[in-house]
Amino acid sequence: MAATGAGVPNSRIVRWIDYRLPFVKFLQHELNEYPTPRNLTYWWNFGSLAGIMLVIMMVSGIVLAMHYTPQSDMAFDSVERIMRDVNYGWLLRYIHMNGASLFFVVVYIHIFRGLYYGSYKYPRELLWMLGVVILLLMMATAFMGYVLPWGQMSYWGATVITNLFSAIPVVGNKIVTLLWGGYTVSNPTLNRFFSLHYLLPFVIVGVVMLHILALHTHGSNNPLGIDHKGPGDSIPFHPYYTAKDAFGLAVFLLVYAIVVFYAPNFLGDPANYIPANPLQTPDDIVPEWYFLPFYAILRSVPNKLLGVIMLFSSILILFILPWLDTSPVRSAKFRPIYKKIFWLLVISVLVLGYCGAHPPEGWYVIVGRIATFYYFLHFLILLPLIGKLERPRPLPLSIGAAVLDNRQPAAAE
Protein backbone atom coordinates (compact mmCIF):
# COMPACT_ATOMS: atom_id res chain seq x y z
CA MET A 1 0.00 0.00 0.00
CA ALA A 2 2.87 2.33 0.72
CA ALA A 3 4.25 1.46 -2.70
CA THR A 4 2.04 3.59 -4.90
CA GLY A 5 4.49 6.11 -6.35
CA ALA A 6 7.36 5.10 -8.60
CA GLY A 7 10.64 4.42 -6.87
CA VAL A 8 9.21 4.11 -3.36
CA PRO A 9 11.56 2.04 -1.25
CA ASN A 10 9.38 -0.92 -0.51
CA SER A 11 11.42 -3.36 1.50
CA ARG A 12 9.73 -5.16 4.35
CA ILE A 13 11.67 -3.08 6.86
CA VAL A 14 10.53 0.20 5.27
CA ARG A 15 6.93 -1.03 5.23
CA TRP A 16 7.20 -2.13 8.87
CA ILE A 17 8.50 1.29 9.91
CA ASP A 18 6.11 3.29 7.70
CA TYR A 19 3.10 1.50 9.10
CA ARG A 20 4.10 2.80 12.55
CA LEU A 21 5.93 6.04 11.69
CA PRO A 22 5.32 7.20 8.10
CA PHE A 23 8.72 8.80 7.78
CA VAL A 24 9.80 7.40 4.42
CA LYS A 25 6.34 8.07 3.03
CA PHE A 26 6.58 11.64 4.28
CA LEU A 27 9.97 12.26 2.67
CA GLN A 28 8.76 10.55 -0.49
CA HIS A 29 5.78 12.83 -0.60
CA GLU A 30 7.49 16.10 0.31
CA LEU A 31 10.84 15.76 -1.44
CA ASN A 32 10.24 13.34 -4.29
CA GLU A 33 6.80 13.42 -5.83
CA TYR A 34 5.95 16.87 -4.38
CA PRO A 35 4.28 18.61 -7.35
CA THR A 36 6.20 21.77 -8.23
CA PRO A 37 5.31 24.39 -10.85
CA ARG A 38 7.06 23.49 -14.07
CA ASN A 39 8.20 27.07 -14.77
CA LEU A 40 10.38 27.88 -11.75
CA THR A 41 13.49 29.88 -12.61
CA TYR A 42 16.84 30.00 -10.83
CA TRP A 43 15.40 32.72 -8.58
CA TRP A 44 13.65 29.82 -6.83
CA ASN A 45 16.98 28.24 -5.86
CA PHE A 46 17.58 30.59 -2.97
CA GLY A 47 15.21 28.95 -0.50
CA SER A 48 17.07 25.67 -0.58
CA LEU A 49 20.39 27.56 -0.61
CA ALA A 50 19.31 29.37 2.57
CA GLY A 51 18.49 26.02 4.18
CA ILE A 52 21.89 24.66 3.23
CA MET A 53 23.60 27.81 4.54
CA LEU A 54 21.82 27.31 7.86
CA VAL A 55 23.24 23.79 8.08
CA ILE A 56 26.76 24.97 7.10
CA MET A 57 26.59 27.72 9.74
CA MET A 58 25.42 25.33 12.43
CA VAL A 59 28.03 22.65 11.67
CA SER A 60 30.94 25.12 11.46
CA GLY A 61 29.60 26.99 14.50
CA ILE A 62 29.36 23.89 16.66
CA VAL A 63 32.96 22.96 15.84
CA LEU A 64 34.16 26.53 16.46
CA ALA A 65 32.36 26.58 19.83
CA MET A 66 34.53 23.61 20.83
CA HIS A 67 37.58 25.91 20.58
CA TYR A 68 36.12 29.25 21.63
CA THR A 69 36.18 30.72 25.16
CA PRO A 70 33.27 33.07 25.98
CA GLN A 71 35.16 35.06 28.60
CA SER A 72 35.99 38.71 28.04
CA ASP A 73 39.69 38.30 28.97
CA MET A 74 40.16 35.25 26.78
CA ALA A 75 37.66 35.50 23.93
CA PHE A 76 39.87 37.49 21.53
CA ASP A 77 42.89 35.28 22.17
CA SER A 78 40.85 32.12 21.79
CA VAL A 79 39.74 33.31 18.35
CA GLU A 80 43.37 34.03 17.43
CA ARG A 81 44.26 30.56 18.68
CA ILE A 82 41.59 29.15 16.35
CA MET A 83 43.22 31.11 13.50
CA ARG A 84 46.78 30.05 14.26
CA ASP A 85 46.93 26.85 16.29
CA VAL A 86 43.78 24.79 15.77
CA ASN A 87 44.08 22.46 12.78
CA TYR A 88 42.16 24.09 9.90
CA GLY A 89 40.78 26.57 12.45
CA TRP A 90 41.35 29.43 9.97
CA LEU A 91 39.22 27.56 7.44
CA LEU A 92 36.41 26.87 9.90
CA ARG A 93 36.34 30.47 11.04
CA TYR A 94 36.43 31.88 7.51
CA ILE A 95 33.64 29.48 6.51
CA HIS A 96 31.54 30.68 9.46
CA MET A 97 32.41 34.38 9.20
CA ASN A 98 31.83 34.67 5.43
CA GLY A 99 28.99 32.18 5.69
CA ALA A 100 27.04 34.79 7.65
CA SER A 101 27.47 37.26 4.79
CA LEU A 102 26.54 34.75 2.11
CA PHE A 103 23.57 33.60 4.18
CA PHE A 104 22.29 37.18 4.10
CA VAL A 105 23.02 37.51 0.36
CA VAL A 106 20.95 34.39 -0.26
CA VAL A 107 18.14 35.43 2.08
CA TYR A 108 17.93 38.98 0.69
CA ILE A 109 17.68 37.61 -2.86
CA HIS A 110 15.04 35.17 -1.61
CA ILE A 111 13.07 38.06 -0.07
CA PHE A 112 13.29 40.31 -3.13
CA ARG A 113 12.21 37.39 -5.32
CA GLY A 114 9.16 37.06 -3.06
CA LEU A 115 8.51 40.80 -3.41
CA TYR A 116 8.82 40.75 -7.20
CA TYR A 117 6.62 37.74 -7.79
CA GLY A 118 4.09 38.52 -5.04
CA SER A 119 4.88 35.35 -3.11
CA TYR A 120 3.47 36.94 0.06
CA LYS A 121 -0.10 37.10 -1.25
CA TYR A 122 -3.08 34.85 -0.56
CA PRO A 123 -2.80 32.03 0.43
CA ARG A 124 0.86 32.41 1.44
CA GLU A 125 0.60 35.22 4.03
CA LEU A 126 1.69 33.06 6.96
CA LEU A 127 4.48 31.54 4.90
CA TRP A 128 5.75 35.08 4.29
CA MET A 129 5.34 36.15 7.93
CA LEU A 130 7.25 33.10 9.13
CA GLY A 131 9.96 34.17 6.72
CA VAL A 132 10.09 37.60 8.34
CA VAL A 133 10.39 35.89 11.75
CA ILE A 134 13.34 33.91 10.38
CA LEU A 135 14.91 37.15 9.13
CA LEU A 136 14.58 38.76 12.56
CA LEU A 137 16.05 35.70 14.28
CA MET A 138 18.90 35.65 11.77
CA MET A 139 19.64 39.30 12.44
CA ALA A 140 19.74 38.73 16.19
CA THR A 141 21.94 35.66 15.74
CA ALA A 142 24.32 37.42 13.35
CA PHE A 143 24.60 40.46 15.62
CA MET A 144 25.42 38.37 18.69
CA GLY A 145 27.83 36.21 16.72
CA TYR A 146 29.70 39.31 15.60
CA VAL A 147 30.21 40.28 19.25
CA LEU A 148 31.90 36.98 20.15
CA PRO A 149 35.44 37.65 18.78
CA TRP A 150 35.50 40.60 21.21
CA GLY A 151 37.35 42.97 18.89
CA GLN A 152 36.81 46.72 18.79
CA MET A 153 33.92 46.49 16.30
CA SER A 154 32.37 43.64 18.28
CA TYR A 155 32.46 45.64 21.46
CA TRP A 156 31.30 48.98 20.10
CA GLY A 157 28.76 47.40 17.78
CA ALA A 158 27.28 45.65 20.81
CA THR A 159 27.30 48.93 22.73
CA VAL A 160 25.53 50.87 19.98
CA ILE A 161 22.93 48.22 19.17
CA THR A 162 22.01 47.47 22.78
CA ASN A 163 21.77 51.23 23.39
CA LEU A 164 18.97 51.33 20.83
CA PHE A 165 16.77 50.08 23.63
CA SER A 166 17.68 53.07 25.79
CA ALA A 167 15.44 55.08 23.45
CA ILE A 168 12.41 53.46 25.08
CA PRO A 169 10.83 56.09 27.35
CA VAL A 170 11.03 55.68 31.16
CA VAL A 171 12.38 52.09 31.37
CA GLY A 172 14.92 52.30 28.52
CA ASN A 173 18.02 52.51 30.69
CA LYS A 174 16.79 49.74 32.98
CA ILE A 175 16.29 47.48 29.97
CA VAL A 176 19.78 48.21 28.67
CA THR A 177 21.31 47.37 32.06
CA LEU A 178 19.31 44.16 32.01
CA LEU A 179 20.61 43.29 28.55
CA TRP A 180 24.19 43.98 29.62
CA GLY A 181 24.13 42.35 33.02
CA GLY A 182 26.26 45.31 34.13
CA TYR A 183 26.81 48.99 33.49
CA THR A 184 28.63 48.51 30.20
CA VAL A 185 28.95 45.74 27.67
CA SER A 186 31.13 43.35 29.68
CA ASN A 187 31.80 39.73 30.50
CA PRO A 188 28.18 38.88 31.49
CA THR A 189 27.04 40.37 28.16
CA LEU A 190 29.50 38.20 26.27
CA ASN A 191 28.39 35.08 28.16
CA ARG A 192 24.70 35.58 27.43
CA PHE A 193 25.35 36.52 23.81
CA PHE A 194 27.30 33.29 23.35
CA SER A 195 24.51 31.26 24.93
CA LEU A 196 21.87 32.91 22.73
CA HIS A 197 24.04 32.77 19.62
CA TYR A 198 24.18 29.00 20.11
CA LEU A 199 20.47 28.71 20.92
CA LEU A 200 18.83 30.85 18.22
CA PRO A 201 19.90 28.79 15.19
CA PHE A 202 17.95 25.87 16.64
CA VAL A 203 14.93 28.16 17.03
CA ILE A 204 15.46 29.15 13.38
CA VAL A 205 15.42 25.47 12.42
CA GLY A 206 12.03 25.17 14.10
CA VAL A 207 10.60 28.20 12.29
CA VAL A 208 12.12 26.96 9.01
CA MET A 209 10.16 23.73 9.46
CA LEU A 210 6.95 25.71 9.89
CA HIS A 211 7.97 27.81 6.85
CA ILE A 212 8.35 24.63 4.77
CA LEU A 213 5.12 23.18 6.14
CA ALA A 214 3.29 26.35 5.10
CA LEU A 215 5.06 26.28 1.72
CA HIS A 216 4.07 22.71 1.01
CA THR A 217 0.45 23.37 1.92
CA HIS A 218 -0.18 25.45 -1.21
CA GLY A 219 3.06 24.77 -3.06
CA SER A 220 5.59 27.20 -4.48
CA ASN A 221 4.56 30.41 -6.15
CA ASN A 222 5.99 30.75 -9.67
CA PRO A 223 7.17 33.44 -12.09
CA LEU A 224 3.68 33.82 -13.52
CA GLY A 225 2.14 34.10 -10.07
CA ILE A 226 -0.92 32.09 -11.12
CA ASP A 227 -2.32 29.09 -9.32
CA HIS A 228 -1.55 25.58 -10.23
CA LYS A 229 -4.64 24.28 -11.98
CA GLY A 230 -3.97 20.82 -13.30
CA PRO A 231 -1.37 18.10 -13.74
CA GLY A 232 0.02 19.86 -16.84
CA ASP A 233 1.19 22.71 -14.62
CA SER A 234 3.55 20.80 -12.38
CA ILE A 235 6.39 18.34 -12.41
CA PRO A 236 7.68 16.19 -9.54
CA PHE A 237 10.27 17.85 -7.32
CA HIS A 238 12.66 14.97 -7.91
CA PRO A 239 14.56 14.75 -10.22
CA TYR A 240 13.68 18.09 -11.86
CA TYR A 241 14.22 20.52 -9.00
CA THR A 242 16.67 18.43 -7.02
CA ALA A 243 18.87 18.62 -10.14
CA LYS A 244 18.24 22.32 -10.63
CA ASP A 245 18.90 23.04 -6.94
CA ALA A 246 22.05 20.91 -7.03
CA PHE A 247 23.41 22.82 -10.00
CA GLY A 248 22.62 26.15 -8.33
CA LEU A 249 24.27 24.88 -5.16
CA ALA A 250 27.44 23.97 -7.04
CA VAL A 251 27.66 27.48 -8.53
CA PHE A 252 26.93 29.04 -5.14
CA LEU A 253 29.56 26.93 -3.35
CA LEU A 254 32.08 27.98 -5.98
CA VAL A 255 31.45 31.64 -5.16
CA TYR A 256 31.54 30.83 -1.42
CA ALA A 257 34.86 29.01 -1.83
CA ILE A 258 36.37 31.93 -3.78
CA VAL A 259 35.43 34.30 -0.94
CA VAL A 260 36.68 31.94 1.79
CA PHE A 261 40.00 31.15 0.11
CA TYR A 262 40.84 34.36 -1.77
CA ALA A 263 39.09 37.23 0.02
CA PRO A 264 38.21 36.02 3.51
CA ASN A 265 38.47 39.47 5.09
CA PHE A 266 37.00 41.47 2.22
CA LEU A 267 33.61 41.82 3.92
CA GLY A 268 34.94 42.24 7.45
CA ASP A 269 36.16 45.33 9.23
CA PRO A 270 39.90 45.38 10.04
CA ALA A 271 39.16 47.17 13.33
CA ASN A 272 37.78 43.91 14.64
CA TYR A 273 41.32 42.51 14.74
CA ILE A 274 42.05 45.02 17.54
CA PRO A 275 41.07 43.63 20.96
CA ALA A 276 38.05 45.29 22.57
CA ASN A 277 38.91 48.43 24.50
CA PRO A 278 36.03 49.70 26.67
CA LEU A 279 37.78 53.07 27.07
CA GLN A 280 38.19 53.96 23.41
CA THR A 281 35.65 54.01 20.59
CA PRO A 282 37.03 53.43 17.08
CA ASP A 283 36.95 56.47 14.75
CA ASP A 284 34.24 55.07 12.55
CA ILE A 285 31.74 52.46 13.65
CA VAL A 286 29.97 50.58 10.89
CA PRO A 287 27.93 47.44 11.23
CA GLU A 288 28.42 44.48 8.92
CA TRP A 289 27.23 45.21 5.36
CA TYR A 290 23.97 43.30 5.79
CA PHE A 291 22.77 45.77 8.42
CA LEU A 292 23.83 48.93 6.58
CA PRO A 293 20.45 49.84 5.02
CA PHE A 294 18.76 49.63 8.41
CA TYR A 295 21.62 51.52 10.03
CA ALA A 296 21.20 54.27 7.42
CA ILE A 297 17.50 54.53 8.25
CA LEU A 298 18.40 54.90 11.93
CA ARG A 299 20.84 57.70 11.16
CA SER A 300 18.50 59.51 8.77
CA VAL A 301 16.22 60.47 11.62
CA PRO A 302 17.47 63.27 13.84
CA ASN A 303 15.39 62.09 16.81
CA LYS A 304 16.64 59.19 18.95
CA LEU A 305 13.32 57.50 19.73
CA LEU A 306 11.91 58.11 16.26
CA GLY A 307 15.07 56.76 14.62
CA VAL A 308 14.83 53.54 16.59
CA ILE A 309 11.13 53.23 15.80
CA MET A 310 11.81 53.74 12.08
CA LEU A 311 14.63 51.17 12.20
CA PHE A 312 12.40 48.49 13.67
CA SER A 313 9.40 49.53 11.54
CA SER A 314 11.41 49.08 8.37
CA ILE A 315 11.48 45.34 9.09
CA LEU A 316 8.19 44.95 10.93
CA ILE A 317 6.38 46.58 8.00
CA LEU A 318 7.05 43.36 6.10
CA PHE A 319 4.65 41.56 8.44
CA ILE A 320 1.69 43.54 7.14
CA LEU A 321 2.88 43.60 3.54
CA PRO A 322 0.29 41.00 2.41
CA TRP A 323 -2.43 43.48 3.40
CA LEU A 324 -0.66 46.63 2.20
CA ASP A 325 -0.49 45.29 -1.34
CA THR A 326 -4.08 45.47 -2.56
CA SER A 327 -3.51 44.04 -6.02
CA PRO A 328 -4.92 40.54 -6.59
CA VAL A 329 -2.24 39.86 -9.22
CA ARG A 330 0.92 38.31 -7.80
CA SER A 331 3.69 38.50 -10.37
CA ALA A 332 5.22 41.86 -11.31
CA LYS A 333 5.36 40.48 -14.86
CA PHE A 334 1.72 41.47 -15.24
CA ARG A 335 1.88 44.67 -13.19
CA PRO A 336 3.48 47.43 -15.28
CA ILE A 337 3.55 50.08 -12.54
CA TYR A 338 4.50 47.80 -9.67
CA LYS A 339 7.36 46.44 -11.75
CA LYS A 340 8.83 49.95 -11.93
CA ILE A 341 8.40 50.83 -8.27
CA PHE A 342 9.84 47.42 -7.31
CA TRP A 343 13.12 48.47 -8.89
CA LEU A 344 12.88 51.85 -7.16
CA LEU A 345 12.64 49.94 -3.88
CA VAL A 346 15.71 47.88 -4.77
CA ILE A 347 17.59 51.08 -5.62
CA SER A 348 16.48 52.78 -2.41
CA VAL A 349 17.72 49.82 -0.33
CA LEU A 350 21.06 49.79 -2.16
CA VAL A 351 21.40 53.56 -1.71
CA LEU A 352 20.61 53.16 1.99
CA GLY A 353 23.31 50.50 2.22
CA TYR A 354 25.76 52.84 0.52
CA CYS A 355 24.88 55.74 2.82
CA GLY A 356 25.06 53.48 5.89
CA ALA A 357 28.68 52.68 5.07
CA HIS A 358 29.70 56.34 5.11
CA PRO A 359 29.88 58.87 7.92
CA PRO A 360 26.60 60.76 8.35
CA GLU A 361 27.78 64.04 6.83
CA GLY A 362 26.78 66.23 3.91
CA TRP A 363 25.20 64.51 0.93
CA TYR A 364 25.05 61.13 2.58
CA VAL A 365 22.51 62.46 5.05
CA ILE A 366 20.29 64.01 2.40
CA VAL A 367 20.44 61.03 0.03
CA GLY A 368 19.89 58.67 2.97
CA ARG A 369 16.80 60.64 3.98
CA ILE A 370 15.38 60.55 0.47
CA ALA A 371 15.92 56.77 0.29
CA THR A 372 14.38 56.28 3.74
CA PHE A 373 11.41 58.36 2.65
CA TYR A 374 10.97 56.28 -0.48
CA TYR A 375 11.25 53.00 1.46
CA PHE A 376 8.29 53.88 3.65
CA LEU A 377 6.40 55.62 0.84
CA HIS A 378 6.68 52.43 -1.21
CA PHE A 379 5.14 50.19 1.40
CA LEU A 380 2.66 52.52 3.08
CA ILE A 381 1.32 54.63 0.20
CA LEU A 382 2.34 53.32 -3.22
CA LEU A 383 1.54 49.63 -2.72
CA PRO A 384 -2.04 50.16 -1.46
CA LEU A 385 -2.73 52.85 -4.12
CA ILE A 386 -1.19 51.15 -7.13
CA GLY A 387 -3.02 47.94 -6.38
CA LYS A 388 -6.24 49.86 -6.92
CA LEU A 389 -5.18 52.14 -9.80
CA GLU A 390 -3.02 49.85 -11.89
CA ARG A 391 -4.47 47.89 -14.80
CA PRO A 392 -2.74 44.50 -14.87
CA ARG A 393 -1.88 42.81 -18.15
CA PRO A 394 -3.95 39.71 -18.98
CA LEU A 395 -2.88 36.59 -17.12
CA PRO A 396 -2.17 33.35 -18.98
CA LEU A 397 -4.79 30.61 -18.67
CA SER A 398 -2.46 28.20 -16.94
CA ILE A 399 1.19 27.60 -16.20
CA GLY A 400 1.26 24.73 -18.68
CA ALA A 401 -0.33 26.81 -21.43
CA ALA A 402 2.11 29.70 -20.89
CA VAL A 403 5.12 27.39 -20.94
CA LEU A 404 3.97 25.64 -24.11
CA ASP A 405 3.15 28.96 -25.81
CA ASN A 406 6.69 30.14 -25.17
CA ARG A 407 7.97 26.95 -26.63
CA GLN A 408 6.07 27.25 -29.91
CA PRO A 409 8.32 29.72 -31.71
CA ALA A 410 11.41 27.82 -30.57
CA ALA A 411 9.99 24.63 -32.03
CA ALA A 412 9.23 26.39 -35.32
CA GLU A 413 12.84 27.48 -35.85
Partner: protein, 188 residues
Amino acid sequence: MAQGAQSQVTPANAHAVEGETRRDFLMLTAGALGAIGAISTIWPFVDSLNPAKDTLALSTTEFDMAPIQVGQRLTIAWRGKPVFIAHRTAAEIKEAETVDISTLRDPQKDSDRVKKAEWLVIVGVCTHLGCIPLGQKQGDPRGPYGGWFCPCHGSIYDTSGRRRDGPAPLNLEVPPYQFTSATAVKIG
Protein backbone atom coordinates in the same frame (compact mmCIF):
# COMPACT_ATOMS: atom_id res chain seq x y z
CA MET B 1 13.08 -4.49 -14.57
CA ALA B 2 16.58 -3.38 -15.58
CA GLN B 3 17.82 -6.94 -15.38
CA GLY B 4 14.95 -8.09 -17.57
CA ALA B 5 15.88 -5.53 -20.18
CA GLN B 6 19.49 -6.57 -20.11
CA SER B 7 18.68 -10.22 -20.62
CA GLN B 8 17.01 -9.32 -23.90
CA VAL B 9 20.07 -7.67 -25.46
CA THR B 10 19.94 -7.99 -29.21
CA PRO B 11 21.84 -6.05 -31.88
CA ALA B 12 18.69 -3.99 -32.41
CA ASN B 13 18.82 -2.34 -28.97
CA ALA B 14 22.58 -2.51 -28.50
CA HIS B 15 22.68 1.25 -28.96
CA ALA B 16 20.37 1.79 -25.96
CA VAL B 17 22.55 -0.46 -23.86
CA GLU B 18 25.59 1.51 -24.90
CA GLY B 19 23.80 4.68 -23.76
CA GLU B 20 23.13 3.02 -20.45
CA THR B 21 26.78 2.20 -19.85
CA ARG B 22 27.75 5.74 -20.72
CA ARG B 23 25.21 7.00 -18.20
CA ASP B 24 26.53 4.50 -15.64
CA PHE B 25 30.04 5.82 -16.28
CA LEU B 26 28.91 9.41 -15.76
CA MET B 27 27.03 8.47 -12.59
CA LEU B 28 30.06 6.64 -11.22
CA THR B 29 32.57 9.39 -11.99
CA ALA B 30 30.26 12.12 -10.72
CA GLY B 31 29.56 10.05 -7.60
CA ALA B 32 33.27 9.41 -7.04
CA LEU B 33 34.08 13.11 -7.42
CA GLY B 34 31.26 13.95 -5.01
CA ALA B 35 32.58 11.43 -2.49
CA ILE B 36 36.11 12.88 -2.73
CA GLY B 37 34.66 16.36 -2.29
CA ALA B 38 32.61 15.28 0.72
CA ILE B 39 35.55 13.58 2.41
CA SER B 40 37.90 16.50 1.81
CA THR B 41 35.24 18.82 3.24
CA ILE B 42 34.65 16.70 6.31
CA TRP B 43 38.36 16.22 7.02
CA PRO B 44 39.11 19.80 8.22
CA PHE B 45 36.18 19.54 10.63
CA VAL B 46 37.43 16.26 12.06
CA ASP B 47 41.10 17.25 12.10
CA SER B 48 40.27 20.45 13.99
CA LEU B 49 39.39 18.21 16.94
CA ASN B 50 42.94 16.78 17.04
CA PRO B 51 45.51 18.44 19.32
CA ALA B 52 46.19 22.00 18.14
CA LYS B 53 49.68 23.37 17.48
CA ASP B 54 49.92 24.99 20.92
CA THR B 55 49.00 21.67 22.51
CA LEU B 56 51.61 19.83 20.46
CA ALA B 57 54.18 22.48 21.43
CA LEU B 58 53.80 21.34 25.03
CA SER B 59 54.69 17.78 24.18
CA THR B 60 58.24 17.75 25.55
CA THR B 61 59.24 18.21 29.16
CA GLU B 62 62.80 18.63 30.40
CA PHE B 63 63.68 17.68 33.93
CA ASP B 64 66.86 17.46 36.05
CA MET B 65 66.70 14.37 38.26
CA ALA B 66 69.84 15.15 40.30
CA PRO B 67 67.95 16.10 43.52
CA ILE B 68 66.09 12.78 43.67
CA GLN B 69 67.63 10.56 46.36
CA VAL B 70 68.10 6.82 46.01
CA GLY B 71 64.81 5.13 46.84
CA GLN B 72 62.85 8.28 46.20
CA ARG B 73 60.07 8.55 43.62
CA LEU B 74 58.86 11.76 42.00
CA THR B 75 55.94 12.65 39.71
CA ILE B 76 56.27 15.22 36.94
CA ALA B 77 53.78 16.25 34.26
CA TRP B 78 54.31 15.49 30.57
CA ARG B 79 51.47 16.33 28.11
CA GLY B 80 49.32 16.77 31.19
CA LYS B 81 49.92 13.17 32.23
CA PRO B 82 51.89 12.09 35.32
CA VAL B 83 55.32 10.62 34.64
CA PHE B 84 56.81 8.58 37.46
CA ILE B 85 60.55 8.94 37.97
CA ALA B 86 61.98 6.39 40.38
CA HIS B 87 65.58 6.45 41.61
CA ARG B 88 65.68 2.74 42.24
CA THR B 89 67.66 1.09 45.04
CA ALA B 90 70.01 -1.80 44.29
CA ALA B 91 67.45 -4.19 45.81
CA GLU B 92 64.69 -2.86 43.57
CA ILE B 93 66.88 -3.19 40.47
CA LYS B 94 67.81 -6.74 41.42
CA GLU B 95 64.18 -7.62 42.05
CA ALA B 96 63.21 -6.20 38.63
CA GLU B 97 66.02 -7.95 36.76
CA THR B 98 65.58 -11.42 38.26
CA VAL B 99 61.91 -11.92 37.33
CA ASP B 100 61.28 -14.82 34.94
CA ILE B 101 59.62 -12.88 32.16
CA SER B 102 57.85 -15.93 30.78
CA THR B 103 55.52 -15.66 33.78
CA LEU B 104 54.41 -12.13 32.81
CA ARG B 105 51.26 -11.21 30.88
CA ASP B 106 53.23 -8.55 28.97
CA PRO B 107 56.75 -10.05 28.87
CA GLN B 108 59.49 -7.43 28.85
CA LYS B 109 63.00 -7.42 30.27
CA ASP B 110 63.82 -4.72 32.78
CA SER B 111 66.81 -3.70 30.62
CA ASP B 112 64.37 -2.95 27.76
CA ARG B 113 62.46 -0.55 29.99
CA VAL B 114 65.29 1.62 31.32
CA LYS B 115 68.20 3.57 29.85
CA LYS B 116 70.16 3.58 33.11
CA ALA B 117 69.30 0.85 35.61
CA GLU B 118 68.94 3.23 38.58
CA TRP B 119 66.49 5.52 36.79
CA LEU B 120 63.03 4.23 35.90
CA VAL B 121 60.92 6.66 33.85
CA ILE B 122 57.34 5.51 33.20
CA VAL B 123 53.95 7.04 32.45
CA GLY B 124 51.93 6.83 35.68
CA VAL B 125 48.67 5.86 34.02
CA CYS B 126 47.26 2.41 34.72
CA THR B 127 46.89 0.46 31.47
CA HIS B 128 43.53 -0.85 32.63
CA LEU B 129 41.27 2.23 32.61
CA GLY B 130 43.57 5.18 33.14
CA CYS B 131 43.73 5.77 36.92
CA ILE B 132 46.98 6.88 38.54
CA PRO B 133 48.49 3.98 40.54
CA LEU B 134 49.62 4.57 44.15
CA GLY B 135 53.20 4.04 45.28
CA GLN B 136 54.84 7.39 44.65
CA LYS B 137 54.63 8.61 48.26
CA GLN B 138 56.04 7.16 51.45
CA GLY B 139 53.32 5.06 53.05
CA ASP B 140 51.38 4.46 49.83
CA PRO B 141 50.41 0.85 49.21
CA ARG B 142 52.91 -0.51 46.68
CA GLY B 143 51.56 -4.02 46.27
CA PRO B 144 53.43 -7.29 46.99
CA TYR B 145 56.15 -6.56 44.40
CA GLY B 146 57.21 -3.19 45.82
CA GLY B 147 56.16 -1.29 42.70
CA TRP B 148 52.79 0.38 42.23
CA PHE B 149 49.22 -0.49 43.14
CA CYS B 150 46.21 0.89 41.31
CA PRO B 151 43.38 1.67 43.75
CA CYS B 152 40.68 1.69 41.09
CA HIS B 153 40.60 -2.00 40.16
CA GLY B 154 43.57 -3.50 41.97
CA SER B 155 46.19 -3.79 39.26
CA ILE B 156 49.66 -4.48 40.65
CA TYR B 157 52.96 -3.39 39.09
CA ASP B 158 56.53 -4.32 40.03
CA THR B 159 59.65 -2.16 40.48
CA SER B 160 60.03 -2.04 36.70
CA GLY B 161 56.42 -0.87 36.29
CA ARG B 162 55.45 -4.22 34.76
CA ARG B 163 51.97 -5.60 35.27
CA ARG B 164 52.12 -8.49 37.70
CA ASP B 165 48.52 -8.93 38.80
CA GLY B 166 45.04 -7.50 38.41
CA PRO B 167 43.00 -6.55 35.32
CA ALA B 168 45.63 -4.36 33.57
CA PRO B 169 46.63 -5.90 30.22
CA LEU B 170 49.99 -4.15 29.74
CA ASN B 171 53.00 -2.82 31.61
CA LEU B 172 53.09 0.87 32.51
CA GLU B 173 54.17 2.70 29.36
CA VAL B 174 57.74 3.92 28.99
CA PRO B 175 57.61 7.39 27.37
CA PRO B 176 60.13 8.36 24.70
CA TYR B 177 62.99 10.16 26.49
CA GLN B 178 66.69 10.91 26.27
CA PHE B 179 69.34 11.79 28.81
CA THR B 180 70.57 15.27 27.98
CA SER B 181 73.28 15.04 30.69
CA ALA B 182 74.17 12.52 33.39
CA THR B 183 70.96 13.22 35.32
CA ALA B 184 68.79 15.46 33.11
CA VAL B 185 66.12 13.95 30.86
CA LYS B 186 64.02 15.30 28.03
CA ILE B 187 60.72 13.46 27.83
CA GLY B 188 58.78 13.41 24.57
